[in-house]
Structure formats: structure tokens, C-alpha cells
């Protein structure tokens, strides 16, 4: 599968992608049970200053992808295949030492739940300075000064006092900021944000998103944004990959994707979200069924059981091959045999049958 063309947008591009993920597969195995393939041949690349979004509903494999990239999956019971290259260096199978040197310094991650990803028994300051002491040759005093500066930069008021406080003393938004400050401590070249705003209120979410946006523009960090919120994607990401049942089913530039979704799933997602700027009383068009109603990719398109466009050849049995991710116009890729067509169909008019 080809790595897609670099997007037209991006603040600071040197041409070489920071992160290249190629045919990544993650399989969870357990004795006595059938193995589960959570990620199934996912490929994408992120350039400096670019924001790439991985979008999908719960269980589509987006978080497992991010954990695999960071090398944070447990060794036992997990098989990771394919290739993950950071700056051209292969990360899969790299030694713990190499990974430990990279993580925190060159690549960092912001998790969804800030309370469970901070150590509750250690003050914030110690947790932020730990990264600095580990990766940047700093004395303790320098590290504390730097940590104060970092907390100030992410918008935590009175940072010197906050450094001495424990995670439970901070509010949710503040904890997430502290987590971002830790991730930014060594000016990483790659930041993976896994649902960074899902646990937060909308006004705080707006603050955090603004912060991430600034970061990408100012430092040219490559950002991978993992989210289920299409609104967040619309405002932040340059390029969007929509995932379903472990595979990328559509990727496109965000303007293209929102204006003309081609995969019926993407179209269905957009049609089922009520919009703040839409007229009141406009009916929602949900996708029927739930994310449980999938068939294995080997048997055909996993979305076929819920898809209104599905036809017989969506199944492998009929067409003789699985549905491939194919070139679909400049900068777009699509995994679908019966995509939505334009302009005959208006956006999102697909999922018409209201599911019962």
C-alpha cells in the first residue's frame, strides 16, 4: 500500500515524514480462545507540522494503533506486525533502551484520562521534572525552573505553587494541561494525543485544542490526533483517516472528507451527528445496528451488515477478493466498492432507514 501524498497544508514541511506506519497489524492471542485482530494493516505517515486524525468509534482499533506505535503494548499475548518507522528508524522490535531514549524525548503521548495517567502519590512538579532530568542534561534546579516555564506555557496559573501539588488537587482541565506539559517537556517531534479532550467540558476542550494547535504551528511538531469527535477533527486535522473494525476505510484531506464523504460509514457518521448550526427539527439519520455487527474482513467489507449501499459483491464469497484500500482521486484513498457518489446525492443522505 502506498504512503499517501503529503497534504497540501502543513506549517513546516521538510518533506520527510517523521512517522511512517506501514501495514501495522496487532493481534491479541489467548490460549484456548480465538485470537482477535484489533489492527489490521494500517498505514499512514505524519510530516513535521502536520496534524493527522485517526477517527472511529469505540473498538475500531485507534487506541491500539497508538499504543503499538509507542511500543506500549504488553509483550505477552500480543503480536505486532508490519513496520513503524520514526525518522527512518524501525521501532518495532527495537530494544527497550532505544525506545526509552526516544519516548519522552522525541515522541510523546497524551492520554485520555489524566487522573489515571498521573501518579497520584507524587507531586506534579516531580512528575514534570522527571522527564527533564532523564532526557535533558539539567540540574534539579534548572529542571524546576523549566517545569515552571512549561506549566506557564500550557496555561496553568501560578505554576510555582502547582508544582508542589498532587494530581487530585488539580481540576480535570488542569491535569490534562499538566500531562501536555510533560509531553512537551523535551519538544518532541511527534506527539500522539489519544482522545485528549474526551473527559473534559466543552469550554476546557476549546482551551486544550487551541493549545495543541499553537504547538503544531509554533514548533512544527507532528501531531497524531486520535478521537471519535468529528467536530474536533474538522477544526484541527489536516489529514483524516477513518477507521472501522481495525482497518482504515477512508482517508482524505479534511475539507474533502467533510464536503464529500465517500465511504457510506463516513457519510453515516456525519449524518448522525446533530449540528449546532443546523436547523432545528432536521431528522437525524443514524447508522443502523451497532459496532458489534461486523463480519471479519476476510469475509468481506466489515461494514456491509450496517451499510445501505451494500451489495452482494461486498462479500468476498461473491467477488473473489477482499475489499482493497484504493486510490480515489488526488490525496484520497477509499475502501469501498459502492461509495457515495456526487453530486447526485447530497452529503450524508445515505443512512436513510432509521434503525429500530
Amino acid at each position: 500500500m502506498s504512503i499517501e501524498d503529503l497534504p497540501p497544508h502543513g506549517a513546516d514541511r521538510t518533506g520527510q515524514p517523521v512517522l511512517e506506519v506501514d501495514e501495522l497489524t496487532v493481534t491479541f492471542t489467548r490460549r484456548g480462545e480465538q485470537s482477535t485482530r484489533a489492527v489490521d494493516g494500517v498505514s499512514f505517515a505524519v510530516a513535521p507540522g502536520e496534524t493527522v486524525g485517526l477517527v472511529g468509534e469505540s473498538g475500531c482499533g485507534k487506541s491500539v494503533t497508538s499504543l503499538a506505535v509507542m511500543g506500549l503494548l504488553p509483550r505477552r499475548g500480543v503480536q505486532v506486525g508490519g513496520s513503524v518507522r520514526f525518522d527512518g528508524h524501525e521501532l518495532l522490535g527495537a530494544s527497550d533502551r532505544t525506545l526509552r531514549r526516544l519516548r519522552g524525548a522525541d515522541m510523546a503521548m497524551v492520554f485520555q484520562d489524566p487522573l489515571s495517567s498521573l501518579n497520584p502519590t507524587v507531586p506534579i512538579g516531580t512528575q514534570v521534572t522527571e522527564v527533564l532530568l532523564e532526557h535533558r542534561d539539567m540540574s534539579r534546579k534548572e529542571a524546576v525552573d523549566e517545569a515552571t516555564r512549561l506549566l506557564d506555557r500550557v496555561g496553568i496559573p501560578d505554576p510555582a505553587r502547582r508544582l508542589k501539588e498532587y494530581p487530585h488537587q488539580l481540576s480535570g482541565g488542569m491535569r490534562q494541561r499538566a500531562l501536555i506539559a510533560m509531553a512537551l517537556a523535551c519538544s518532541p517531534r511527534l506527539l500522539i494525543a489519544d482522545e485528549p479532550t474526551t473527559a473534559l467540558d466543552v469550554t476546557i476542550q476549546a482551551q486544550i485544542l487551541e493549545l495543541l494547535k499553537e504547538l503544531v504551528v509554533d514548533t512544527g511538531t507532528a501531531l497524531v490526533m486520535i478521537t471519535h469527535d468529528l467536530g474536533v477533527v474538522a477544526g484541527l486535522c489536516d489529514r483524516v483517516h477513518v477507521m472501522y473494525a481495525g482497518r482504515i476505510i477512508e482517508s482524505a484531506d479534511r475539507h474533502e472528507l467533510f464536503a464529500r464523504p465517500r465511504q457510506p460509514y463516513t457519510g453515516g457518521l456525519l449524518a448522525s451527528v446533530p449540528r449546532l448550526d443546523g436547523p432545528r427539527g432536521a431528522p437525524l439519520h443514524p447508522i443502523r445496528g451497532s459496532a458489534r455487527d461486523v463480519i471479519p474482513w476476510a469475509q468481506g467489507c466489515a461494514f456491509a451488515p450496517r451499510c445501505d449501499n451494500a451489495q452482494d459483491d461486498c462479500l468476498t464469497e461473491v467477488s473473489g477478493s477482499t475489499v482493497p484500500l484504493e486510490y480515489d482521486g488526488p490525496g484520497r484513498e477509499l475502501r469501498c466498492r459502492h461509495p457515495l457518489s456526487y453530486p447526485s446525492t447530497p452529503a450524508g443522505a445515505t443512512a436513510s432507514g432509521a434503525a429500530r
Partner: protein, 383 residues
């Protein structure tokens, strides 16, 4: 308080909440629990819901919207105020009359798995309320009724023998809704009915709620933090901040022109799934976090984060809900000036700089505030 006779004309609102307060005591002490203060979860809310309409209550976490919903059902005891349901003051009832009136007001909870007993199958879950209220007419009648209920919420009758864990999130929420409408209530309070569900399933449940309302003539109080969902299903929307209502208006009016600074910020913070809209619209970023409801700011509760704050009236004087348009209530001293563009907002950094970290006591007379008192809201230099 005396109960108003039940035979009021149907033109009256189904539910009227007057000056409702719910305060939770904060207890300290090793041997003797001393009350050292109160969390003012709900602090004086008035609202009324017309029959057959949907009232949407929005606000951020900790603003007291869930507590308000629970206080209406007397799941938490109100500290003060009246909840008049169909002419009867619920807050003054107890024992059997309370139990009877609860049949007519039911609740749908946020977490469908947590609110369904994992050891009861669907049949038992749905027949329990009927048994409890002696309704349904015997074994045969109840079985018949349950089948109709399942049909109404779009579940197969094969679901009867199954347990909650065997269903997906959307289906569980359908069971929760079926249980709530089993007693044919008049008022349904839905506390975050879709926020635990995936996007594609959310729309199914929202459509189901709308369909049931149309068919059964239900009145809804929908509590949610998702403004887009609330806008979609509500006729009237109330915005809560720190325990009190800051704005209430018909849904279209509120979303077209929010007048309270907090509503404005809230609306502008919601991401819209359209890149073109996202790039052009302006965002009002708020400074800081929600203040503690145990120690709410003086005057207008929003003044610590408000980009339009004016010295010193906002700090000293509690604004009341005023009617600015037809059925459009706002509690802001400067709502007209803000609407007409007389006052300009300051950026979040400036608000943070003037307000500092903690909520300062009122009446601080430094140079910055002097400039503000003179009426011109000039930007303040950060030092």
C-alpha cells in the same frame, strides 16, 4: 406548604420548579461530624415545563444540572423551594402519596449498564415497576404489556430472557427507556441519555426518544452537556452555571443569539463537524476553570471568567433573570450592551491576568479596574 388542588386546568405547566435549592453539607471531624460549609449544588432555580414539550438543561460538569433533575424526583432532598408537579408540591409529600406520584415521573439514567441490575433479565427488569405499582393486570396482562414495550423501543421479544450484559450500549439504553415508560409516566427525566453511546448509536436513541414523545405525549426534561444533542431535541433550553440558571430561551432563539456571556462562550466552544465553519467562526475562550460550588464567587457567579466583566457591579450585585425577548430570560447586568456590541470582550489571557489565580474578594481598587469603571473597556496591558 400546602398542596394546590389537583384539578387545575391543563393550561398550567406540568412541572414548575420555584426557588429550588439543594445544599450538601461538608463534614469534617474525627469523632463528631461538624458541618464546616455547604456545597451549593443547586442554588435557587426557577423553571417550568409545558405539557408535551421538551426542556433541555445544559451546563458543564459540576454545575448542578443532574442534582436538579434528581431533586425534582426527590431522589435527593431539596433544601428549600417548591417542585410543583401537575398542581401538587412534590417537595412536601411523603410516604404513599409520594410513591404514587413517582409513577408519573420516571427517569432514564446516563450509564445504562450501571442502572440495570445485572442479575435481572429483561422480563424481570420491565415487570418490576408494574408489580411495584400493582399495574398491568395479572401475569397475562403484564406479559402482554412487556411485549408492547419492547416493540415500542425496537427490541426483539427474544430479548426477554436475556441479561443486560448481553446487549450493546444502545440496546441497554433502550431497555432503560422501556423501563421508564412502563408505568406510562407524564414526565420523563433523561439524565445524559446518550453521552455514553457511540456517535452512530446516539442518533438512534435520540430518534427513539422523539418518536416516543410524539406517540405517548410525554414531557421531557433532558439533562445533557452535549449542546448539539440538546438543541436537536429541546423546545426550551436552560443554561446552568454554578447552581443557577443563567439563561433560558426557546431553542432556536438561544442558539441563534445567546445573550449571556457564558452561553456565548459555551456555544462558541462546541466544535462543528465542518472545516469551513470551523475556520471562519470566532471562538470565545474562557479563562480558568469552574470555581468551587462550596465557595461561589460573589455577585455574578460568572464574573471570574467573564470576558465582558465590568467593575464593580458584576462583582457586587447578583444579577436576576430578566426577560429580554419573548420568553428569553437572561441573568446578566450587561446583556443589552453586549448584544449591541457596546462592550467588547477581552481575551482569556487578559481575564486570567486581571483575575489572578484565585477568586479575589470584591472591591479591589487598582489602576486596571479604575480604567474599567470609567466605562471604556480598554484592553489591559499584561505585566
Amino acid at each position: 406548604m400546602t398542596a394546590v388542588p389537583a384539578e387545575t386546568p391543563p393550561a398550567d405547566p406540568l412541572l414548575r420548579v420555584e426557588g429550588l435549592q439543594v445544599h450538601f453539607p461538608i463534614k469534617r471531624g474525627l469523632f463528631v461530624d461538624r458541618t464546616v460549609g455547604h456545597v451549593r449544588a443547586v442554588d435557587g432555580v426557577d423553571l417550568s415545563i409545558e405539557r408535551g414539550s421538551t426542556y433541555g438543561l445544559v451546563g458543564e460538569s459540576g454545575c448542578g444540572k443532574s442534582t436538579l433533575g434528581r431533586a425534582v424526583l426527590r431522589l435527593v432532598e431539596p433544601t428549600a423551594g417548591r417542585v410543583v408537579f401537575d398542581g401538587t408540591d412534590v417537595a412536601s409529600l411523603s410516604g404513599e402519596p409520594l410513591r404514587t406520584i413517582r409513577r408519573r415521573m420516571q427517569m432514564v439514567f446516563q450509564d445504562p449498564l450501571g442502572s440495570l441490575d445485572p442479575r435481572q433479565n429483561v422480563e424481570s427488569l420491565l415487570s418490576e415497576p408494574l408489580h411495584a405499582h400493582g399495574l398491568g393486570g395479572g401475569k397475562q396482562g403484564i406479559a402482554e404489556r412487556i411485549r408492547t414495550l419492547l416493540d415500542a423501543v425496537g427490541l426483539p421479544s427474544a430479548a426477554l430472557r436475556r441479561y443486560p450484559h448481553e446487549f450493546s450500549g444502545g440496546q441497554r439504553q433502550r431497555i432503560g427507556i422501556a423501563r421508564a415508560i412502563a408505568l406510562e409516566p407524564d414526565l420523563l427525566i433523561a439524565d445524559e441519555p446518550v453521552s455514553a453511546l457511540d456517535v452512530s448509536v446516539q442518533a438512534q436513541v435520540v430518534n427513539l426518544l422523539e418518536e416516543l414523545q410524539e406517540r405517548l405525549g410525554l414531557t421531557y426534561l433532558v439533562i445533557a452537556h452535549d449542546l448539539a444533542v440538546v438543541k436537536h431535541i429541546s423546545d426550551v433550553v436552560g443554561v446552568m452555571y454554578l447552581g443557577s440558571l443563567v439563561e433560558q430561551a426557546p431553542s432556536e432563539v438561544l442558539y441563534a443569539e445567546p445573550l449571556h456571556p457564558y452561553s456565548r462562550a459555551l456555544m462558541s466552544a462546541v466544535p462543528v463537524p465542518d472545516p469551513v465553519v470551523e475556520e471562519t467562526r470566532e471562538r470565545i475562550l474562557l479563562a480558568g476553570d469552574l470555581p468551587s460550588p462550596a465557595n461561589p464567587p460573589s455577585g455574578c457567579r460568572f464574573h471570574t471568567r467573564c470576558p465582558w466583566r465590568q467593575e464593580t457591579r458584576c462583582d457586587d450585585e447578583v444579577p436576576v433573570l430578566r426577560e429580554l425577548g419573548p420568553a428569553h430570560l437572561v441573568s446578566c447586568h450587561w446583556a443589552e450592551e453586549i448584544r449591541d456590541g457596546v462592550l467588547r470582550p477581552r481575551s482569556a489571557e487578559e481575564v486570567a491576568a486581571t483575575m489572578g489565580v484565585s477568586v479575589r474578594p470584591t472591591g479591589v481598587g487598582d489602576i486596571e479596574s479604575d480604567a474599567l469603571v470609567q466605562g471604556i473597556d480598554a484592553p489591559i496591558e499584561r505585566t
